[in-house]
């Protein structure tokens, strides 16, 4: 269930500073991450220097889902910043903690090597084509973030995830700058 049509045009920009501002506007204070080449420069690097965000570097992506669940019991909001391969690795934790236990898990998923201007479902890469169908079959709301125009989706999506509570996936289409 894609909420909002992609606003992507090849050549448009996606600025990490705008993404980080939108995440903080939603009340997020923790970022839990395994580095992803797709978001390492545009998002993770500035997060490391942001005094309003606490970065917890995990060794594997599924750790982040346990940490985020524990943080929620202290009313702390977290962003799980991972690559699509880490999303696939974490499938059992997402199934249990996010879906069956209805915990507020906010996943920002980097679509590494997605072709510019091409929707994920039409990518030549198998691993990218399967991400949206997997989210759909798990009933996880998803938002495609490909240009600056899409950044407006982020804050309300995170707030909704925590208020419902339920998981949400923010798919980062192009590499943020």
């Amino acid at each position: 269930m894609d909420v909002g049509a992609p606003a992507a045009e090849a050549g448009d920009a996606l600025r990490g500073a705008g993404i980080i501002r939108a995440v903080k506007d939603a009340g997020v204070t923790y970022v839990l991450s395994v580095p992803d080449l797709h978001t390492a420069g545009g998002i993770l690097a500035p997060v490391t220097a942001d005094k309003e965000l606490t970065l917890i570097r995990t060794c594997k992506e599924d750790e982040a889902f346990g940490i985020a669940a524990g943080l929620s019991y202290g009313s702390k909001r977290a962003l799980i910043l991972i690559q699509y391969t880490g999303f696939l690795y974490s499938m059992n934790a997402i199934r249990a903690i996010a879906c069956e236990h209805s915990m507020p898990m906010v996943m920002m998923i980097g679509l590494l090597s997605k072709e510019p201007g091409v929707p994920p479902a039409q990518s030549r890469r198998f691993g990218l084509r399967i991400i949206e169908p997997i989210l759909d079959v798990m009933g996880i709301e998803r938002h495609y973030i490909d240009t600056d125009a899409d950044i407006a989706k982020i804050t309300p999506a995170i707030r909704k995830a925590y208020e419902t509570p339920k998981p949400v996936a923010l798919l980062i289409g192009r590499r943020p700058v």
Binding site: Y30, D62, E63, G70, S72, Y73, S75, K76, I97
Partner: protein, 186 residues
């Protein structure tokens, strides 16, 4: 080796307002020994009890968080030792209940029975590490260990079984989760 239930009865005498995050076999027995709102049950994604505990410890720095992990569970998430060492929460005590088996999965042995969990914890960067295989020693020292500044790692060498009587669904019921949130004011 120690009897798990006897150790948990000793732990019960020292637990006050700590959050106790447990998983699978040890959870079933702990909740039977000391049923209380501040029990957190990690369930559904085996291996993540210590990650849940880390999140709790970061979110609630004013409270001690005691994780009752399993040895099979910890082996599924060894990176957690490095993550905990780096985050270095002062209020986290990570215990692993070490009986050499996947007890909750039918009692089959771990791939290797001689795992040195204390060595792994030290190598990951956790400096406060304890190992107990004698219940009298555990009884004498656990009170002081619960007062140590974390992160602390404790290897509990125990006998296998018997499994505790509580069901996973009952331990993870919505009412228990609500009571925990209420107790934490979350």
């Amino acid at each position: 080796m120690m009897n798990r239930r006897a150790c948990l009865e000793i732990l019960k005498r020292h637990v006050t307002d700590e959050i106790v995050a447990s998983t699978y076999s040890t959870a079933s027995e702990w909740i039977d020994v000391h049923d209380r709102p501040l029990n957190y049950f990690s369930f559904g994604a085996m291996g993540l009890a210590s990650s849940h505990g880390l999140g709790l410890a970061l979110a609630r720095p004013e409270r001690k968080v005691v994780v009752l992990d399993g040895d099979g569970s910890l082996l599924m998430n060894l990176g957690t030792l490095v993550t905990i060492a780096a985050a270095a929460p002062k209020n986290l005590i990570h215990t692993v209940w070490h009986n050499g088996s996947y007890e909750a999965n039918g009692g089959h042995p771990l791939p290797h029975g001689g795992v040195d969990f204390c060595g792994m914890a030290r190598a990951a960067g956790i400096t406060k590490v304890h190992r107990f295989d004698d219940i009298r020693n555990f009884e004498q020292r656990i009170g002081a260990i619960l007062k140590e500044e974390g992160p602390v790692f404790v290897d509990m060498v125990i006998e296998q079984g018997p499994l505790g009587p509580r069901s996973y669904d009952e331990m993870y019921s919505p009412s228990r989760r609500r009571k925990l949130r209420e107790a934490l004011g979350a």
